[in-house]
Amino acid sequence: MSDEVIRMENVQKDYVLDGVRVRALRGVNLCVRKNDFVAIMGPSGSGKSTLMNIIGCLDIPDTGRFWLNGKDVTRMTPDDLAYLRNHDLGFVFQNFNLLPRTSALENVETPLIYSGIKKAQRRARARELLERVGLSDRMDHVPSQLSGGQQQRVALARALVNHPALLLADEPTGNLDTATSQEILHLLSELNQKEDVTIVMITHEPDVAARAKRQLVLRDGVIEE
């Protein structure tokens, strides 16, 4: 068995808007091994988020092959993909994407609902994660009552709640001040080192990227090492 978590070969993705074709990804080759920590950098509009959405099984490539943990994702049914997102993947979005008018605790619990876990266990696990990101006193706050940094930490707790093997973070510190950014990055490093979580992170900031084990640059839809 290989220990490749992500393997991509010649992945392409176009967007067509009003008859104009935007080539967001023009043949991406990528290999991420278990316990790697990869930072992807690149100018705005270079296709980073597009790539991340494909890795996160939220979108499908137009052409090319893509394996997650050795399994061919391009051949999976929607239900299989949902299972993957639920059990194997954790996603931290650039814009948090918390459920509105839903408490921090319930937000973190949500993935466990779709795993069919019982309520008491869900609660306990969600509490544990919120404590870990330092929000034990904000569990009942809804997103609109939380600061950006706090919201991002809730999102991180939610991404981690189901023990994912692969954590995807799209500019996790993009909206945060330096101190909060450091906290989040510290958490990510800790996860990578102590719990063997494989991480792919997108960032614009070189000093943030420096915290990763490996840095890649995406430019005009292709990866340059």
Partner: protein
């Protein structure tokens, strides 16, 4: 995802938009309540008509003397003199006929002490009261012996009793009409007006022979009331009766009947059909409002799906399968319509209850109408919830997440 969690999720989502949920449910409430109340009114009318028909003797046939043609002149119904007591007795042998009641009818001015009253006088046999399902309130019926002897006795209807005797007891008193004195042996129970408004209680019954001989001076009879063993029998015996009477009256092939047979069962059947149509009409009008309520649910669910597209995207990103999303929205609309159904059933039965109390509508809430209305509201929930729910579940995660 387990059911408990799914239901909790749906309830929470509804609770966040309390007012909207309430108004949506209101559409269903009104629809269900209308169906139940309308069907109850229809059912009440049906039962009332059924009761009336029963008191009329819906499995009865009546035979009247008919028309006769002499030299090209047709004399009109009731003018032949060929129908006899013997004809009536002969009918007893026809299978399906249970009882036979020959009668003659006239009218007279009746006197009792200072009072007088013009009324109908009918000559009958005691059997007629059974055939007409008409018991006595007081006294007793004259006997077949009285019929054989043409005894001057009579039974009075409630209206006659009231007009002539006021509050005093008629039984045992003597009435005088057409020059004969006649003892009152009994008083009939009140029967009320017919469906077409004539007062059935304005009548005096005397033995057939008494009226024939002492009042009219005839030997024939005017009509025969025939009781059959049931509605179906009523339809079946009509032809038998015609055949038998034609034979007894020695009518040739080319001669028309000198009597007429009226089938009450036919009348009853059409009245019942009318009542049923009325009932269905009311029910279907009410169903329209239930349909409108259902469209209200669909409308709100569609709005809700659009509003919550991003939420759907987030849930999918977190691992919700298509069927999880489908059920989330379907459950919301089901809960709305089921809750609306329950409240609607209560409102409908309550409204029907009030209607019976404060008006002379007879209203009958039946179990099946409750079942129907409730089932319909649940069906409405599924039917009108399914489209928005499917729409939500078919979204691709990234489309939903990017939705603005």
């Amino acid at each position: 995802m387990n059911w408990l969690a799914a239901i909790q999720l749906a309830l929470k989502a509804l609770w966040r938009n309390k007012m909207r949920a309430l108004l949506t449910a209101l559409g269903v409430i009104i629809g269900v309540a209308a169906v139940i109340a309308m069907v109850a009114i229809g059912e009440g009318a049906q039962q009332r008509i059924a009761k009336e028909l029963e008191s009329m003797g819906s499995q009865n046939l009546s035979i009247r003397s008919g028309t006769v043609t002499r030299g090209g002149v047709r004399t009109g119904a009731g003018t032949t003199t060929t129908l006899t007591f013997a004809d009536a007795e002969a009918l007893r042998d026809v299978p399906g006929i249970v009882a036979v009641a020959p009668s003659v009818r006239t009218s007279a001015q009746v006197r009792y002490r200072g009072a007088n009253w013009g009324t109908a006088i009918e000559g009958i046999t005691p059997e007629a009261l059974t055939v007409r399902n008409w018991p006595l309130a007081d006294g007793e019926v004259f006997t077949t012996r009285d019929v054989a002897l043409a005894t001057p006795v009579c039974l009075v209807g409630q209206s006659v009793a009231r007009e002539l005797f006021g509050l005093s007891r008629p039984v045992g008193e003597m009435l005088v009409f057409k020059g004969i004195a006649c003892r009152v042996s009994g008083v009939l129970v009140a029967k009320g007006a017919t469906a077409w408004g004539s007062d059935q209680d304005d009548i005096i019954f005397a033995p057939l022979t008494t009226v024939q001989r002492k009042l009219l001076g005839i030997t024939y009879i005017h009509g025969i009331e025939v009781q059959t063993s049931g509605r179906n029998a009523a339809f079946a015996v009509v032809e038998e009766i015609k055949k038998l009477l034609r034979q007894r009256h020695r009518l040739r092939e080319d001669q028309e009947d000198d009597f007429r047979v009226y089938n009450r069962a036919e009348l009853a059947q059409s009245a019942e059909t009318n009542a049923k149509v009325f009932s269905w009409l009311l029910g279907s009008i009410a169903s329209v409002s239930l349909l409108v309520g259902g469209i209200g649910i669909m409308n709100i669910m569609l709005v809700s799906v659009t509003e919550r597209t991003r939420e759907i995207g987030i849930r999918m990103a977190l691992g919700a399968r298509r069927r999880d999303i489908l059920w989330q929205f379907l459950l919301e609309s089901l809960i709305l319509s089921a809750a609306g159904g329950v409240v609607g059933v209560l409102a409908g039965t309550g409204g029907a209850e009030l209607l019976t109390k404060f008006s002379d509508f007879s209203v009958v809430v039946t179990f099946w109408s409750i079942l129907l209305a409730f089932g319909a509201s649940a069906a409405v929930g599924v039917f009108f919830g399914l489209h928005p729910a499917r729409k939500a579940s078919r979204l691709r995660p990234i489309q939903a997440l990017r939705y603005e």
